[in-house]
C-alpha cells in the first residue's frame, strides 16, 4: 500500500518546484509533491457515486418512467398544492423570524460579554445536535393547550400545536443556528475603525447601524436565511409530531411523500419528491452563488 501511494498517484502530477507558476497551471492540475492524489480521487469519486449519485440517479430514472398524466395528477393535485403552499409559507415565516432574531443573537454573542454567554453560545448549536424526533415531541408538549407555554397562549386563543403555526415553530427551531453561524464570522471580521470613522464623520449610532453595519450583515444573513429555508422545506421529524398531519390543512410535502409511499403509490411519491428535489437544488445553487459572492467580497 505504502509503495503504491508514495509513488504519487496515477495522474502524473507536474513535478519540479511546487510553487512554480508554470508547473501549477498545467492543464488545471496542481498536485505538487504530496502523494496520494490518485488514491484519494479514486476513493472519493467511487464512494460518492455508490452512496449518493447512484441512489439519486435511481430517482431520476424512476421519474423518467412516469407518464405526463401520472406526473401531473400527483404533482398538481389539490392536496399536493395545499402541501406546497403550507410548506413554503411556513418555511418563509420561520426563515424571516430566524433572520431578525439570528442577527440580534449574533450581535449580542460577538459584541457583548455577560454572565452565561458561553452557555447561550452553546445553545445556538443545540438544534443541530438534537434529534428531530426529540425536538418534535418536546415542542408539542410545550405548545399543546395544556403545555407550559401553550396554556398561556390558549388563554388568548392562540393554538400553536396542531396548526400551521406549529409547522412554522418546528422549522424555526431546526433552522435557528444557520443565520447566527453565518453572520457571526462576518461580524467578528468587521473592522471597528469603519464604525469609528462613521462616528467621527458625524453619523449617529442609528445611522452607523443602518448605513454601515446592516449592509455588511445583509449578504451573510441572506445566505443564512436560504440555508434555514432549505432546511425547513425538507424537515420532517420535528414537524410530524406538532402539526397534527391533517390533509389540506397541516400536511407538509415530506409527509405527503411518506403517506403516498405507505399507500404503495410509488409513482406519486416519486413525482412529488422530484419537485422537492428540484426546488432544493435551485436553492443550493442560489446559496452557492451567494457564498461565492461573499468570498469574493471577503477577499477584497
Amino acid at each position: 500500500m505504502a509503495a503504491v501511494t508514495s509513488a504519487s498517484g496515477g495522474a502524473a502530477p507536474p513535478r519540479g518546484r511546487p510553487g512554480h507558476p508554470l508547473a501549477r497551471r498545467r492543464r488545471g492540475f496542481a498536485t505538487g509533491i504530496l502523494p496520494g492524489f490518485g488514491l484519494s480521487l479514486g476513493y472519493t469519486v467511487a464512494y460518492l457515486s455508490l452512496i449518493v449519485l447512484i441512489p439519486l440517479g435511481g430517482l431520476a430514472v424512476k421519474s423518467a418512467g412516469l407518464t405526463a398524466g401520472e406526473f401531473l395528477a400527483a404533482v398538481a393535485s389539490p392536496r399536493a398544492l395545499a402541501a406546497y403552499r403550507l410548506t413554503f409559507l411556513a418555511a418563509l415565516a420561520a426563515g424571516v423570524a430566524n433572520v431578525v432574531f439570528g442577527i440580534i443573537v449574533a450581535w449580542v454573542l460577538v459584541r457583548y460579554r455577560f454572565p452565561g454567554r458561553a452557555v447561550f453560545d452553546a445553545l445556538v448549536d443545540l438544534p443541530f445536535a438534537l434529534p428531530t424526533a426529540v425536538a418534535g415531541i418536546a415542542l408539542t408538549a410545550l405548545y399543546a393547550d395544556n403545555g407550559w407555554v401553550g396554556r398561556w397562549l390558549a388563554k388568548v386563543d392562540i393554538h400553536v400545536a396542531y396548526s400551521p403555526a406549529g409547522v412554522s415553530l418546528a422549522m424555526l427551531f431546526v433552522g435557528l443556528p444557520f443565520v447566527v453561524r453565518t453572520v457571526e464570522p462576518i461580524l467578528l471580521d468587521l473592522d471597528p475603525q469603519v464604525e469609528e470613522a462613521a462616528a467621527t464623520l458625524g453619523a449617529s449610532r442609528r445611522q452607523t447601524m443602518a448605513r454601515v453595519i446592516l449592509p455588511v450583515l445583509l449578504p451573510p444573513a441572506l445566505t443564512g436565511f436560504a440555508l434555514a429555508f432549505a432546511r425547513g422545506l425538507g424537515e420532517y421529524g420535528s414537524i410530524v409530531f406538532i402539526s397534527g398531519n391533517m390533509p389540506m390543512k397541516t400536511e407538509i410535502v415530506p409527509l405527503l411523500i411518506v403517506t403516498k409511499l405507505e399507500q404503495y403509490d410509488y409513482a406519486g411519491a416519486t413525482a412529488i419528491a422530484l419537485v422537492m428535489l428540484l426546488a432544493s437544488f435551485g436553492l443550493l445553487f442560489l446559496i452557492n452563488t451567494l457564498q461565492a459572492f461573499l468570498n469574493r467580497r471577503g477577499a477584497r
Binding site: P35, L59, F101, A133, V134, I257, V258
Partner: protein, 302 residues
C-alpha cells in the same frame, strides 16, 4: 488570520474574541434590551424544549424512568442505533479524510463541482434520502427483482437503515475537515517528505495531529446525526418493534401509543447525546483556540 482562512458555512471559528469588544459603542440601554431579546429567544425556543424533555421523562420519578428505558424493545432500539452509527460513522470518516485530503491538497479540474456534490445530501430532504433507496433497492425498485432472486433484503431491514443513515450523514466529516486542512497548509508535509518520510508516515505523523480537533468535531457531529436520524430511517424501515426500530422511531411509536412518559424517557437519552456532543464541541473549540494561540507564540524561522 481568521479572515484569510477559506470560509465555509459552520466553519469552526477559533475564539480569540476581544473581551468587551467595543462594547462602549452601544448605549447601556441598547445592550440590555438586545441581550434580553437574544437570551429570551434562545431560552424560549431552545433551552425550554430541552428542559421539558427531562422533566417529562422524570415526571413519574426515577423508577418508571429506568423501567421505560430497560424494556426489551427500548434496549433493542438502543442496540440497533449503536450498530447503525457504528457502521456509518467509520464509513463516512474514511471518506471524509480521503475527500478533504483531495480537496485541500490538490488543484484539479472539476474540484468545485466535486465539493458541491459532497454537500448534496445536506440539501436533500431526509424523506427523499430514504425514498431513493426504496426506489433503487425496494421490492418494486430498479434492482428489486435481482435482489429478491438472490434473497437479499436491504430495504425494510437493517442494511437499509444503515444505508439511509450513511447517505444522510455523508458530508459531515468532510465538511468539518476540509477548511481545517486547508488552513493548516502543506509546508510541514512537504518538509516531512523532503526529509524522507513516505506518504503514510507524513499523513499519520504530520497531517493528522494538525487537524485532529477538526476531525474529532466532524466525527461527533456525524455520530449525533447518525444516532438521531428520523425521516430517512422512517421511510426505509418497516418500523417493526425490536427489529428495525431505532431509538428515534421508538420515541415515535411510544408517543403514538400515548405512552408519553416512556417516549420522553427514551428521548431523554437522545437529548443527553446532544448535550454531550455540544459539551465536546465546546471543549474542542477551546483546545483549538489554545493550539492556535500557541502556534502564534512560536516565532517563525526565516
Amino acid at each position: 488570520m481568521a479572515g484569510a482562512a477559506p470560509r465555509r458555512n459552520r466553519t469552526v471559528v477559533p475564539d480569540p474574541r476581544p473581551p468587551l469588544a467595543r462594547a462602549g459603542a452601544d448605549s447601556r440601554f441598547t445592550r440590555t434590551v438586545l441581550t434580553l431579546i437574544a437570551c429570551g429567544f434562545l431560552g424560549l425556543f431552545v433551552a425550554l424544549p430541552i428542559v421539558s424533555v427531562f422533566t417529562e421523562a422524570l415526571h413519574d420519578g426515577l423508577g418508571p424512568y429506568f423501567e421505560a428505558i430497560k424494556t426489551p424493545d427500548s434496549v433493542a432500539a438502543l442496540k440497533l442505533t449503536l450498530l447503525t452509527a457504528g457502521v456509518s460513522v467509520p464509513l463516512n470518516l474514511i471518506f471524509g479524510v480521503a475527500a478533504s485530503w483531495l480537496i485541500a491538497r490538490y488543484r484539479f479540474p472539476g474540484k468545485s463541482a466535486l465539493t458541491t456534490l459532497i454537500d448534496l445530501p445536506f440539501s436533500v430532504s431526509p424523506v427523499i434520502s430514504g425514498l431513493v433507496f426504496v426506489l433503487l433497492l425496494g421490492a418494486r425498485g430498479l434492482l428489486g427483482p435481482w435482489l429478491e432472486e438472490h434473497d437479499i433484503h436491504i430495504v425494510f431491514a437493517v442494511p437499509g437503515i444503515i444505508l439511509a443513515t450513511t447517505f444522510v450523514t455523508f458530508p459531515f466529516v468532510a465538511r468539518e475537515l476540509i477548511p481545517v486542512m486547508q488552513a493548516s497548509g502543506t509546508d510541514q508535509e512537504q518538509a516531512a517528505l523532503t526529509l524522507g518520510a513516505n506518504g503514510w508516515q507524513t499523513f499519520w505523523h504530520v497531517t493528522l495531529p494538525s487537524v485532529k480537533w477538526g476531525l474529532i468535531y466532524g466525527i461527533i457531529l456525524c455520530n449525533a446525526r447518525a444516532m438521531g436520524e428520523f425521516g430517512a430511517v422512517r421511510v426505509v424501515s418497516a418500523n417493526i418493534v425490536s427489529g428495525t426500530q431505532t431509538m428515534p422511531l421508538r420515541v415515535e411509536s411510544l408517543n403514538d401509543q400515548f405512552q408519553g412518559q416512556a417516549a420522553f424517557a427514551v428521548a431523554s437519552l437522545l437529548a443527553l447525546l446532544a448535550l454531550v456532543t455540544l459539551a465536546i464541541k465546546t471543549i474542542l473549540e477551546w483546545k483549538q483556540a489554545r493550539d492556535f494561540a500557541r502556534a502564534q507564540d512560536v516565532a517563525p524561522i526565516h
